[in-house]
Each structure stands twice: as C-alpha cells, then as structure tokens.
Amino acid sequence: MKSSKKLFALVSLVLVIVLALCGCEQEEQTQIPVNEGANEDADKSFAGTYEGSAEGYSGGVPVTVELNEDGSIVNIKVGDNQETDGIGNIAEEKITRSIIDSQSLNVDAVSGATVTGDAIIEAVANALVSAGVGTDSFNYVPAARLEEAVVEINPEAMPEKKEITETIIIRDAKGREVEIGLPISSYAISTMDVIDYIVPLKGEEAFHMLVGSGQDGGHGLNKYAKLYTPIVGNYMEHVGQISDHNAPFDLEMILAMQPDVLIANSAMAAHRYALEIEDQLTQAGIKIVLIDVPGKSLKNSAQDTMTILGQLFQKEERAAEVNEFIDQQYELIASKISKEALIAPTVYYEKSGYADIFGSTATSKSGWGLVVDIAGGKNIADDLLLDTAASGGGGNTLDPEYVLNADPDFIVVSGINDGWLDSVSEKRDCKFDIINRNGWSNLKAVKNNDLYEFAHSTSRSIYAFYPSLKLAAILYPEEFEGINPEAVLDEFFERFTLVDKSISTWFNSLEMCEGAKQ
C-alpha cells in the first residue's frame, strides 16, 4: 500500500503540472477597454506624469507620459527596453513625435517595427487610462497582436445568407464536377494564402465572406489578421480556425461555421483531408472545390485557379483581367530568352540551407525549380535527379562535392531570411550563413555576389510571376534592360489588391546583406 501512496503523490504532482501549464495558456492579458475612464469630471486637472507599459517584441516597453491640465499629451518618454536597436529606436522617436503632434493614438506604424510601435501606443494608452483621461479623445484602436489575433467568434457578425438564384457546375482542379448554388454568401479556405486569389475578385468583401481558414506553418491566420484587420475591419470575429498546420480538418468547426463552399489547395495534403470529410460536408450542404497551385505547371496554375474562382464568385471578367496580366509577364519572359544564341547560365537552388545543414534542392519539375526553369536557368540538379525514382523527379539533397564541382554561375535560395509578410513582424538582419561552407568562398557565384533569395511561399502564391521575372532579369541582364520587375509587382498590387508590395521582403541578395560576408 505504501507504493500506491507514492504513486498517488506522483500522479497528483503530474496533474498539478498539467493544470498549471493549462493555466499559463489562458493567462489573462491586460487589455484596455477602449471606452473606459472617459473624462467625466471636467474640473479635474490632469497635469502630471503617468506611467504605463505594454508587451513589445522582446519584453516590456515602459513609457512615461506628461500631461497638461486639460489632459493633452505634452511629452512621451520611452524607458529602458530590449527592443531591437536601430529600427526600434527610430520607431520610438517617430511614433512618440507623431502621437504628440496629432494628439492621437491612431498613428501610422513604422514599417519593420510594427510590434515595437504598437507596444508604445498601447503603453501610452495604459498611462492615459491610469491618469483618468481615458483614450476616447485619442482615437485609440487596440492593435491585434500576432499571438492573440485569433479572436472569439461572434455569431452576430456571420455573413448573411443570400438567396440562391442559379446553380452552376464547376470543374475543379482535380476534374471533379461540383454543383454550386450562386451567389455564394460565405466560404472557407484551407490556408490563408488562398485569399490572395479571392481579393482581386471581391476586394474587401473577400474578408467579409470568409468564415473559416486553416492555419499554416508561418502562422498565416495571425499574420493576415494583423495585416488586414486595420483595412477591412475585425473580420476575424467570424472566422474559425478549421485546421492546424498540415493537419486534418476540424470537421466540427467547419460544420459550426457553415460555409457554402470549402476551397482547398493542394498544399499540405489539404485535398486528401478535404475528401476524407466530403460525405459529412455534403450532408450539411457544404461543397468542396479543389484548386492546385503551384501544381505541375507554374505558368498556368495561378490562372487556372483564377478561372475556377471567377466562376465561383461570379467575377469571370475580373478573373480574366488578372489572368491576362499574369500571362503577359510569362510571355514577356519567354520572348526575351527564346533566342537560340543565348547560353543558359547554370543555377543551383537550395531551400533553407545553412553552413552545417544542407537543404534540399529542386529540379526543373518542382517547386522553386519551376521558377528557375521559367527564368531560363540551367538547373545543375537536373542531370542528377530529374530521372531518379527516389526523388520522384522532385527535390533532394545534392552531394556538396557535386555543387563545388559544378561551380554554378548563380545560386538561388529560399526560406533562409524568409521575408514573407514580414511587415507585420519585426524585420531581422539578413544573413547568409550558407557561404561559410567549406569551399563556397571559391564558388563563382559567391565571389561575384550572385547569390539571391526569394520569399519562399511566393512560388505558390498569385505573385509567382514576380520571382520568375526578377530571376530572368538577373540571369539575362542585357535582354531585360529597361524592364523593372518591382514596377510590375507594384502595378499588380495597385490594380488587384488592398495593400501594397511593402507587406513582404520579396527579395534579398548577398550584396544587400554585406554583413554576411567576412
């Protein structure tokens, strides 16, 4: 019996630990109610200094706010904090100045330091509340934090069901024929990046109609929420998380959110997970439409997707407009590098490589290899891997010796300093540890600074034409003289999206991160 007592003690210890861990998760965040502490007592003087603080990028950010009698902000001092030097300091100065100048907390964040900026604003709001002034007269809008961007569902906010006036049959990317009643009033997507294909069609309404999305490895749900909530309003109050990263769909959540249609992309096995629950969804009147980007042909998959979605959202003309734009870019590339006389430069691609870790490469038939192929590079992995069954003609890790021996003219990487949607998180200094590998300092590409990085997920995004065009312009500078890929990207954002291209760091080069070279 002694032993069972001991056992009991240990078990209760475990339970205590588990419960304590649960407790940490749900720890109350200090949220400032927007309308609290309104100025009721007009005679009261507010003159004095007040302190407030908020959670920043790394640790707390304390501020001291000086107010005059009528409660206007005279001065703001930011105390000691651990925010990144440089960009963080600039943010402090800029934001405090614009708060004082405009007497408003609704000021533009400093790009690249939004987290620090929001922390300062929240800290000032804290101080104002503790002073009894309140935040009413300062237009305070609490920023959605990355980690808590997923908010409670508000049933009132769900999109209204529209009356169905017609039905159509859509042929999706897998050749399934899906009958759908139009117009659709709500939809769910397998990962947030799918919405980039819907925004060009529906604009802000794309967010108002969204009721569910899966999470992805880069916390897409939170990043998009952070990026788009200020633009389209708090759409997250009617969006449920319908799957975890690369996980089966949460059937219950989809049923609860009742989208008219679930749009699933091929990434992260979402096709299979969607078809697994097709029976139950059909029973509940929820249709599944499969799309496939980047699919097998990067040149067409985005357009095929737009065509399907154009039918689904009854915006076929708009979809055709987008397709025309994308087609033009690929035609442009093809026309410039089709000349027979050109000798294709050799290119080596690697994903997420470091000095000690060899990332996988990709042949001309998959992933970033497709981009290299369209841009007219000769992929050094093709000779070795294209026909091997082991890699399915796809990616694998190359023998480091082979890379040294091939001495490629250009090196393309992705997923190292990944800049995708980094305007919502803190920018980091870019680094290319990969060049510290044995023998790499003698590679032609490293010597000539011909090492380039693209944001990894762009190859499967609607913006995939940009890395193709940019890389082509790098590989064939003479042929592409006078063509500005950034301007093309700008035009796309201008014509078809709600934001501008500053949302991401699209491109890095060894030259731009000079610090990486010793």
Binding site: L10, L255, A256, A269, E276
Partner: protein, 352 residues
Amino acid sequence: MTDRAFEDISENRALYNSLIKKRISLISILFAGLVVLFLFNISIGSSSISIVQILRALFLNQGEGNNVMIVKDVRLPMALMAIAIGAALGIGGCEIQTILRNPIASPYTLGISSAASFGAAVGLILNNSILNLPEALAITGNAFFFTLVVSTAIYIFSLQRQIGKTAIILFGIALNFLFSSLTMILQYIADENQLQSLMFWNFGSLLKTTWTKFFIVFAVLFICMIILFKNAWKLTAMTLDDTKARSIGVDVSKVRRLVILITSLISAVAVSFVGTIGFVGLVAPHIARLTVGEDQRFFMPLSALLGGFILSLAFLLSKLIIPGVILPIGLVTSVIGIPFFMAIIFSKMRCM
C-alpha cells in the same frame, strides 16, 4: 464459485468477499468517472454549443444550424471512440504482458505500431493503396493491412514448437526494427509536406472518427473481450511459470497463440483507425495490476476501463489546452503517460 452456501462462512471466506467487494466498488467508481469524462467530451469542442442546445440535439434531434450534426455525428462518435480505443489498447497491453510475463511488453513491442506507421507512409508518400481503396480510406486500409501482416507473422512464428516467450518478444522487436527502417527509407524520398503528414498521422488523432469506424472498433473489441473473458482463469494461471501452469492443466502454448492472435487484432484495429497512441497500452495494465492484482476477472476489465479513462482524459485535455484547437491526442497521452510510467518504475523498483 462465490455463491456457495453462506452458513459456513469462515474467516477466509469473509476476507475474500470483502476483497471482491472492494474491487467491484473500485471498478464502479472508475466507471462513474469514465461516464463523467464522456459527458465532458460531448459538451466540449472547438465550437461552443450550450448545454441546453446539446441536450436538445441529443434527445429531440433539433437545433440551430448544424448543431445536431455536430453533436450526433462528430462529438458523440469521437467521445465513444476515445473510450473504445483506450479499452482496446488497455486490454491488448494487459494480455500481452500476461502471456509474455514481461512488464514492458505492449502491443507496440510486437511491431504493430511501426507496421501501421509504415502502411500509412506507403499511402501518404507513395500515394499507393494496397487494398485498392478510395483515396480517403487508403491510409487506414494500408495501416490495417500491414498490422495484419505483422500479426500473422507473429502468429505463424508462435505456431512452431518450443517457441518460448523470449523468442516471441525478440521476433516482435525484429519486426519493429524492420518496419521502422522501411518507413525511414520512405521518409528519405518524401518531401516536406508528406513528412509532416506522416508525423501527424503518427501523433494519432480521433478527428477522423465516423460511426462506421466506431462500430468496427467496437465490434472487434466486444468479440475479443468475450473470448478473453472465457479464458480468464487460464490467463490468471499463465502468470505462474510455464511448467506450473501446465501442471494445473493449462495448455500454455495454445493459450499464448490464441491471445497473441486476439491482442494483435485488437491493437491493429485501434492503431489503424486513429494512429499510434503511445503509452495507454503500457500504463493502463500496470495501474490495474497495482490496484487489483493478477486476477484476470478484475485485471482485464480494469485495464480496459483505465485505458478508456486515460484516453478520454487525454482527449478532454487535448481540446482544453489551446481553446479552439484540438491537439493530436497522441501528444497528450505521451505527456501525461510518461510521468505515470515513471511513477510505476519508482514504486516497483525494488521488485525489478
């Protein structure tokens, strides 16, 4: 046997009766706890539905939106599946430990989980369905096929004469390594997304439960339980060494073969429907043995109950830890299972 004439109640008989009473009340308490967990599991999920709504959906079949479907076709089978799978793993572990007389044996020692994992990998990475099932069932089908291969292999192996328990364990370990290395070969050629999917499958998840899947698991569990229960006294005798068991009339190798067949079938079904869920098969029998001893009439049902209890608890925690997200249940069972297991090691250290 127990209901013999009451008049000659000796002191020993009284002691025995009180012991039995204690055990029965323990089992009843645990059963009540299981029911409570089951109710919690129906009422908590990723969407918030009020208790009134749940009751209306359950008994009156009416509710807003898809609430009826959520309660009846999603939550109810998942909550029942947690119990059935836990019970299956608990029984599997209890019987394997008994017939092999080895405290660290579990259904997984015989290579069943790594075979299931390999089957899933064949489906996920090679996109191949061995049994030619539609895509949605391919992975479960493959996993089941390979667990059956392993079960048959072990059964045929144990058919040979003069095969002792150690040989069976060693054979199981060899199969385990064989299938792990086959899986590794597949992992080598897999891309990132496939790897992640395989990893997720290995975590185990109840999310894909449907009524059909639950009924299959339940039917197998029920039949196997009846067969095992019929052999309860023989199995109790198996805890002695082989010679002694034989001397009181138990055909040791025959019982061993039968039980190996049944437990591997039970675990094969459990593992191929929900993925590899660790530790339940190891921990539940140990706790059961500590509380009621080796008497199979109590040891077996208690292992099943405890298995169901642990898995239901893990399922509940997996829904509570991050609100709105259901963690893979295998993660949670391992996290709460490992300390349990350590506690057992500490408390039994002296006799090992």
